[in-house]
Symmetry: C2
């Protein structure tokens, strides 16, 4: 049993302590050992420690304080730039300017990220994924000077934890695991699956703060709204086009 997996908490408050080069290198090596499509390694990892650059990333990650606090930010990218250059230098015509290639490279980038996350936790560090990477990919590309062929997919902040949160609850297993075929959910199934979450003290507090009827409305009206999702989808699809992975 890998205890880091079962003890994982996202950490959102960090001490100012630096991360030793040796520790960071071991985390990056862990990332590189991940499975990858056809041994092409069509991903890259941008290491940010410079406070000025980190500050620019912080702005793009919705100014979440943890991005300023954490001493290291790792941006994991789908990357066909290097591979395309190699092909071109070898009289081989690269055919990777398409959605499939982008998506394949993205899967590899996330596998690398999760290896890095777990290895960081094994070194006593805390981590948090930043989903905002997909919202402001256009700006992150400018800050990190990512060339054509490179798209940021996800980001990890790394640092020594300055909080020790409880394990976050998960839905019951039947909500996410299906045996042999997908078993779709009845109205009663949905009520049962979400019952514990909806009845928790945390949920009651959130509903009061957000002034919504229920928890689901916090997601749809506050956290992940249709309007924002449509806007950020357009940004992301535009990024794909500009970086050489057009979808139409």
């Amino acid at each position: 049993m890998i205890k880091e997996i079962f003890e994982h908490r996202s950490i959102r408050k960090y001490k100012s302590d630096e991360i030793d080069d040796k520790v960071l290198n071991s985390i990056l090596q862990a990332a590189i050992r991940g499975s990858n499509t056809g041994s092409m390694q069509v991903y890259s990892i941008i290491v940010t420690r410079n406070p000025e650059i980190k500050n620019k990333l912080w702005e793009q990650h919705f100014k979440q304080p943890m991005v300023q606090q954490a001493p290291v930010v790792l941006t994991f990218c789908a990357d066909f730039n290097r591979f395309n250059k190699w092909c071109e230098q070898r009289n081989a015509e690269p055919g990777y300017d398409n959605f499939l290639s982008f998506f394949t490279a993205s899967v590899d980038a996330v596998i690398a990220a999760q290896n890095a996350a777990l290895e960081a936790e094994a070194s006593g560090l805390g981590i948090c994924y930043l989903g905002t990477t997909n919202y402001t990919a256009d700006k992150i590309i400018e800050i990190l000077e990512l060339p054509k062929g490179v798209v940021p997919v996800t980001t990890l902040v790394l640092g020594y934890p300055d909080e020790s949160p409880e394990l976050t609850p998960r839905l019951p297993e039947r909500a996410v695991i299906h045996y042999e075929k997908y078993k779709d959910f009845s109205k009663e199934d949905i009520d049962n699956i979400y019952k514990n979450t909806e009845n928790s003290e945390l949920t009651k507090k959130l509903i009061e703060e957000n002034k919504t009827e229920n928890l689901a409305q916090i997601f749809t009206q506050k956290r992940y709204t249709k309007q924002n999702n449509i806007h950020f989808s357009e940004v992301l699809l535009d990024v794909l086009k500009k970086q050489g992975f057009p979808v139409n």
Copy 2:
């Protein structure tokens, strides 16, 4: 240091030994403990053990023998079906029928998959990712009866290894790690990065077998051709549309 990360090899030959329920459950629990966007858990895992269903999946995974040999196949899906149903039952209008939502859910699905892969390896099992999941997503959806809102993202085969391959080589670190800003590659950089791979005995053997001028041409002309990438991109984009995540 998490030794499973550094000792990972993809396994392509499996013994017929079954996987104990307890072991499988621990792997699924590991998957569920992964980081996920906003605690929404917008992914699902389909467990295939039934030989008939596994055989159908094997056909879609380009008839790779390991899919028949391995006793368990796990298909990791981006899944907004359950979440959308919950929102609709709670008078909350879900706004997740777009590319951003699909991509977010895909990242979560891959994090879950990599946790499962490492936990499987910690239990003495071997694993292999199947990139073919993205090529034949339309057919996998039919076989596993995935409803609207659900798209297969990646697949793991699990079983007891019947081979013990060497660690696969990786490009030098400077090929994938960039400090502070992306450092693009000169012609000489590319030559240097690929030198060891190109000069290996394995590469020489592959070039002879494939009758190409060099290794890069094996990728562009045989393994990942432009024609196939374009075709499978169309399949995948069509799947997104049909499953409720239209990109245009």
